[in-house]
Symmetry: C2
Subunit: 197 residues, 2 copies
């Protein structure tokens, strides 16, 4: 997808000179410490990409967050073809990221709207993270958009935080195997679906 064709105005620019790599990484703990002793068979990132692994899925999600709900809107606003749109909407509905909701305009027949479910809505941090990164490192020039906090006007980004509300530095992230922690459930808002533990 690197040379991914984009139909419209391309304004990609090489922005910064990258530093010779000096970056912290995640610490592997316990039985995971020896990376060559295990395989990432159940990788959550890959599992997520099984659902959103296409450009079209991301773009459709973007428009869903921008407020689109009807087939026609999705097609027009994403510039994707109708066949792709139909396929993707069906898939995203099947996996529960979108939900069909019949609606009827006066003098029209019943049609389906596609709305984000809670599962879909929870993709916002992922989309936002890509948005911020792309904005900072890949785009330049005018005509840019940004995400702002309605309350204070500040730029919105996606940051690492632990369930106790601490800001988490990249160097302070550990990967560990999850052995049925039943006690650490905190901060789960009521009505949440599959709260682990």
């Amino acid at each position: 997808m690197v040379g991914m064709s984009r139909p419209d105005g391309d304004q990609r620019v090489a922005l910064p000179q990258p530093d010779p790599g000096v970056a912290q990484h995640i610490t592997l703990t316990g039985p995971l410490a020896d990376r060559d002793s295990w395989r990432a068979d159940a990788c959550p990132i890959v599992a997520a990409l099984d659902v959103l692994g296409t450009r079209s899925a991301f773009v459709i999600l973007r428009e869903a967050f921008y407020g689109a709900s009807r087939f026609e809107q999705f097609v027009k606003r994403t510039q994707l073809s109708e066949p792709v749109m139909a396929t993707r909407l069906k898939e995203l509905t099947e996996v529960g990221v979108l939900a069909k909701e019949p609606y009827r305009e006066p003098g029209e027949r019943t049609r389906n709207a596609y709305r984000l479910t809670e599962k879909g809505a929870e993709l916002l941090p992922a989309l936002t993270a890509l948005f911020s990164w792309g904005s900072r490192w890949q785009l330049s020039g005018p005509q840019q958009v940004e995400l702002a906090h309605a309350d204070c006007g500040g730029l919105v980004t996606s940051v690492l935080q632990c369930e106790h509300g601490h800001p988490v530095d990249a160097g302070a992230v550990e990967l560990r195997s999850m052995h049925r922690r039943r006690e650490l459930v905190v901060q789960g808002r009521a009505g949440e679906r599959p709260t682990r533990a």
Copy 2:
């Protein structure tokens, strides 16, 4: 990529019954309010996907964050083929997400290590967000992994925050066009690369 073939143990499971879509979306402001009046030509998400739009790129990044740096490690740990690895590493290096760094083991010839640059390291929130989402909504069963805060042991996720440190609710996000805000630069740590404005 939805039916994306995965070489190893697949343990995808249908977890929750999605609700009939009722989710807040982002508010479009100013000239962007009428979504049909503009095209998302310079979409930062698409720009990001131009770089990481493949499964292999994500998986390579994952392993980079897990500590891999050598060609052989990347191949073994990602289960990707050598041709794909060579191509992807070159591309990721070219766009500045990874940087080559020559190293030499005693009794070996000089080889290249690939390390995350700052640009690459800043993808952690995006990877983490996908990680959390995939873990919560797509995976189940044992053998799962999770990200924890080294300091307190709490689960790490990616959350929305504005530049003033406020937690941002999904309903409080606005999309606006960015007209050269030179004043609002806050919180920029020294040494940061392309701080806007």
